[in-house]
């Protein structure tokens, strides 16, 4: 059949019906033979049969052969959810020379046999009704043809932690243009803040910085640091992105990173974000020595010129003449075919657990702060000391699951904290072999490659693992030490022990700053508020929005190996449309009958995807559907007062026919 051609009205409708056993999944509950027999007697049905696995090759062969043998022009398959096998069967139809839209699927597994497992008789009746309804619709099906769009061969990557860096490098190495946007002055993300990585104890900076350095050097990567995505329009293959590049007040090209500006800057007491407030920085700064780009940034909030209108010392001392107070925020527009979200995570705010006394006691710190205390580039130069007095700690406690596995805060497991604390415990032992280290845990989850082995090693090093969630940290009057109260649940004993430092293994939470991009792209969130993948198992890096992919902790807490693997997966997925050069979209979308449309714009107001628009003409503007953006949700169809809009593949006639068949009294089906 040629494109645009309708089934001839006079052409006889010949429907083939295939009822799947799905092994025992369906057949154990539903009498499939009876359903097939019933279907065979319905008008317009030429052939009906049942099959053990319709999705199997013999099953598909049956369909293909039957189409040819019986000259079928419509197919109904009653099996599992169309989400499972609709694409499979569409291809089967195509292979037999039928338009793939002439298929109607009935879900008699999830929506029938599984839910009515204990009522086989009624389940069979229901299956008959569902099949009859599908047959009624099938009779009215029209051939539809997929839509094709050209693709801009470039990708926007949002966030330049290890996830964004890995995804960008992969795409760039494949030969695609990448725009990598990072809101902070430097790329690197949380991984740059870590001292060592578990379980191999690689120096985090040592393994990360080579990748960081590769980013700006790569001819295919356009790094936009200190920038934010302002808006995204368009659709897969054709996104239009506006990026705001914030003013650094220091020229990126001229700056030689000599650091004289920061040295001479009189404002030196700003808590360093990179060191989580444990160290200070000047108002002119690079966040850390290996920053990429190494350009200095003037922090407008604290710079004396911006706050008080005085100073400008940096401008006078800069040997490269790079300071430029007249610099302004820039807007950059780029066209991309795909987008990768790699916005990472925030650390759980441990202040929400007042029982642990964070902020009350200087020696109670978060696990990320502990990383900075261990790091040679950190505020203490890698010397592990108590923040309260600068003395080496002798007794350190690690409290697990702070903000994780807790329905009051975050019900999920943050996945990295067990291993991070085991690593920290090891590092304490390495620096101070005599120090006593205790880890208070609920369950120790050492699930990754080499993790359990690492845990065993740290146990052998003498770290005391106590099964019990620490209950409270307090201080006796006039004491320098912290008293920790806990139940050793294996003994069933409540104990109090003194420590001179307590580290809270804080959980991972969704980045609050990722909210604008989520709204812009209308991305769904899972119940934990991380970005939701299209399918938890089979489409783990795609989203419900075509052309938008996820990786790293933006999708959920994970450790570095998982982040890197997922980033490569997202890059791979995001490159598919780029490599193909075109995208094919489902033909089941809305279309407007121009004769009926009165241009009232009601459809515009109900479409959450901005996929329908009344054209601005002098008079009688008509609604027009953006075929790439339409998701076939049906809102406009229901809202249109002139009934001018129809969904292809779900027309009112088709739906009515389905209802009529469904509502027919059961006795008429015998």
């Amino acid at each position: 059949m040629q494109k645009g051609e309708k089934l001839n009205d006079s052409q006889e409708i010949r429907i083939g019906v295939f009822i799947c056993h799905c092994g025992t999944n369906i057949a154990n509950t539903i009498d499939v033979k009876k359903v097939a027999e019933y279907a065979s007697k319905l008008p317009e049905v030429t052939f009906a049969s049942d099959e053990r696995y319709v999705c199997s090759e013999p099953g598909q062969a049956l369909i293909r052969d039957s189409i040819k043998k019986h000259n079928l022009n419509k197919v109904v398959i009653a099996s599992c959810s169309p989400r499972m096998h609709e694409p499979t069967f569409r291809k089967t139809l195509e292979a037999a020379g039928l338009n793939s839209s002439l298929l109607e699927m009935v879900n008699i597994r999830e929506q029938c046999s599984w839910v009515h497992m204990h009522e086989p008789k009624k389940a069979t009746e229901k299956a008959k009704a569902l099949v009859a309804s599908a047959i009624a619709k099938a009779g009215l099906l029209e051939p539809l043809y997929p839509l094709k769009f050209k693709v801009t061969p470039s990708t926007l990557v949002v966030g330049a932690g290890i996830a964004g860096i890995q995804a960008s490098l992969d795409l760039a190495n494949k030969g695609f243009k990448v725009y990598l946007v990072e809101r902070a002055p430097s790329i690197g993300g949380h991984m740059a803040q870590l001292d060592k990585t578990f379980p191999t104890l690689d120096c985090s900076a040592c393994i990360l910085t080579p990748k960081m350095v590769d980013v700006p050097r790569h001819p295919n990567i356009n790094l936009l640091s200190y920038s934010e995505v302002k808006s995204v329009d368009g659709f897969i293959g054709n996104f239009k992105v506006v990026i705001t590049k914030k003013a650094r007040y220091i020229n990126e090209v001229k700056c030689t990173s000599c650091g004289v500006c920061a040295e001479k800057c009189p404002v030196k007491n700003i808590p360093s974000e990179f060191n989580l407030g444990l160290g200070k920085r000047a108002a002119t700064y690079v966040p850390f020595p290996q920053a990429v780009p190494p350009t200095y940034t003037i922090d407008k909030e604290n710079c004396l010129w911006f706050t008080k209108g005085v100073c400008r010392v940096c401008e006078k001392v800069c040997p490269a003449n790079a300071v430029d107070f007249s610099q302004e925020e820039q807007e950059i527009q780029v066209d991309v075919g795909t987008i990768i979200i790699a916005t990472g995570y925030d650390l759980f705010d441990v202040k929400q657990k007042p029982e642990y006394g964070y902020e009350m006691y200087k020696d109670v710190i978060s696990s990320l702060e502990f990383e900075r205390l261990l790091s040679a580039a950190g505020p203490t130069g890698g010397k592990l000391v108590r923040p309260s007095n600068g003395i080496e700690p002798r007794k350190i406690a690690f409290i697990q699951c702070v903000g994780s596995r807790d329905v009051q805060t975050n019900p999920y497991c943050s996945r990295i904290c067990c291993m991070a604390s085991i690593k920290h415990a090891h590092q304490v032992k390495e620096k101070h072999p005599d120090a006593e280290v205790s880890v208070f845990y609920i369950d120790l989850r050492a699930f990754g490659k080499g993790y359990e082995e690492f845990y065993a090693r740290v146990q052998q090093e003498g770290v005391n693992f106590v099964r019990g969630k620490a209950a409270e940290v307090y201080k006796e009057p006039n004491s320098d030490n912290l008293t920790l109260v806990f139940e050793d649940t294996l003994l069933g004993e409540v104990q109090e022990q003194e420590f001179d430092m307590v580290v809270l293994a804080a959980g991972l939470v969704p980045r609050t700053t990722a909210e604008p991009i989520q709204k812009m792209l209308k991305l769904s969130l899972s119940p934990d508020n991380f970005f939701l993948e299209a399918h938890p198992k089979l489409r783990p890096v795609e989203t419900q929005i075509a052309g938008v992919y996820l990786c790293g902790c933006a999708q959920g807490p994970k450790d570095i190996p998982d982040v890197v693997a997922q980033a490569s997966a997202a890059a791979s997925q995001a490159s598919i449309p780029l490599a193909k050069g075109e995208v094919v979209a489902e033909p089941t979308i809305a279309y407007v009958d121009q004769d009926l449309c009165c241009g009232c714009k009601v459809c515009e107001s109900v479409c959450v995807y901005d996929a329908i628009e009344v054209e601005a003409t002098d008079e009688n503007g008509k609604a027009k559907v953006n075929e790439a953006l339409c998701t076939c949700c049906g809102s406009c169809v229901a809202a249109c007062p002139a009934r001018a809009i129809t969904l292809r593949g779900f027309t009112s006639e088709q739906i009515s026919a389905q209802f009529e068949a469904l509502l027919k009294p059961a006795q008429q089906r015998d």
């Binding site: 007042p354 029982e355 006394g357 699951c401 596995r405 807790d406 329905v407 009051q408 609920i442 369950d443 099964r467 019990g468 969630k469 620490a470 209950a471 409270e472 307090y474 201080k475 006796e476 009057p477 006039n478 109260v485 806990f486 139940e487 050793d488 649940t489 069933g492 409540v494 109090e496």
Partner: protein
């Protein structure tokens, strides 16, 4: 209630045995109460284990276990149900039995006769609610009868009078609020008290209640399942009238004052700032803080029926008054008649008499009027 019902009601199968409940329990070390094990035993044995009186009745229903539970299980409510089983079987200490009987008969657990309920008002002009007033002052059993706690009632009446708050009392019509009865597990009697009290409140068209007892406050607010009236704790009302300039001070009080958060006011209802604001508004007063303060306040062991049963072991109230002096406090202020009573006892047993005074917020304020 059998094991299965307990498991269902308290979501015991969801417990991950992290131990934060038992670790947080203020009496677990002294009395040996391990609430987590209690819950586990019901699940593992399918039966309710018999526990020693000392353990079972040591719980003060301070609620810390429930507040910190990561699975939102409420262990102290489970324990109250275990107490209910003991109460049903009559397996309770004579003192508890007497308190329950007295509440049924006299409307108070102190075994005092009803006619003496407004004895504390002697010499004060306080109107009965039936004479018409904007607000009911619900006195509560302890401030009504206990000679030491009566001073709370008298001071509060003085403060409210000075601030021109139009209030009245129920006099001998007033009943036990039921808070401690609930905590002792006598839920039938509690329901009876709720009905009786609601009848009386309705009769007098009560729309606003102020009480000096956090236990009554919590119970009216959270356990009465009613929308007839609003209840305030006196710390909230006092802080408000001070802020509005209705209650002013004429004297300076050059004192170092430390405030103890009662569990039923702080942890269970989040009232932390109002009492502190009120204290700090007194000229000359310096407010000190315990290390274990606000959400981490250490229970005084006065709640959950503990006023009517003697549990062996050292007293947390002693720790509290000792620490108060270590922080340099001259007055330990609280806002609960039970805290007041346990601290007064602790001052004696620790030999700190003359070194520290125990006061209710209302008493402290009235010193500066």
């Amino acid at each position: 209630m059998n094991a299965q019902e307990l498991i269902q009601k308290h979501k015991l199968l969801e417990c991950i045995h992290c131990g934060i409940c038992t670790g947080s329990c203020p009496v677990s070390r002294n009395a040996g109460l391990n609430i987590r094990k209690y819950m586990r035993e019901v699940v593992a044995h399918g039966d309710v284990t018999v526990h020693s009186q000392n353990e079972l009745w040591s719980c003060t229903t301070c609620a810390t276990c429930g507040i910190r539970c990561p699975k939102e299980i409420i262990p102290y409510e489970f324990l109250i149900d275990i107490r209910s089983l003991a109460v049903e079987k009559g397996q309770v200490a004579a003192t508890i039995r007497d308190a329950l009987e007295s509440t049924f008969k006299n409307g108070n657990p102190w075994e005092r006769i009803r006619s003496k309920r407004s004895e504390w008002t002697q010499g004060l002009e306080i109107k009965h609610i039936s004479q018409g007033a904007e607000m009911l002052y619900f006195v509560g059993c302890t401030p009504a009868y206990d000679p030491r706690a009566q001073k709370i009632a008298r001071s509060l009446a003085e403060c409210l009078g000075k601030a021109n708050v139009d209030f009245g009392i129920l006099g001998v019509e007033e009943n036990c609020c039921g808070s401690e009865i609930y905590g002792m597990g006598e839920k039938g009697l509690f329901e009876f008290l709720v009905e009786e009290n609601m009848k009386i409140f309705r009769k007098h068209h009560i729309e606003r209640i102020v009480t000096g007892c956090p236990h009554a406050f919590h119970t009216f607010k959270n356990r009465y399942d009613q929308t007839d009236f609003e209840v305030q704790h006196h710390t909230q009302l006092l802080s408000k009238v001070i802020e509005e300039g209705k209650l002013t001070f004429s004297k300076e009080l050059k004192k170092q004052v430390i405030y103890h958060d009662p569990c039923f006011l702080g942890k269970q209802n989040g009232v932390y700032d109002e009492p502190r604001k009120a204290i700090e508004s007194i000229p000359g007063v310096k407010l000190l803080e315990f290390d274990r303060t606000r959400e981490r306040s250490l229970c005084c062991e006065g709640g959950g029926g503990r006023m009517w049963i003697d549990i062996t072991g050292p007293r947390l109230a002693e720790n509290r008054v000792r620490n108060a002096t270590k922080y340099g406090a001259e007055i330990l202020v609280t806002a609960c008649p039970f805290c007041l009573s346990t601290f007064e006892d602790a001052v004696k047993t620790t030999g700190l008499e003359g070194k520290i005074q125990i006061m209710d917020l209302a008493e402290l304020l009235s010193l500066a009027l």
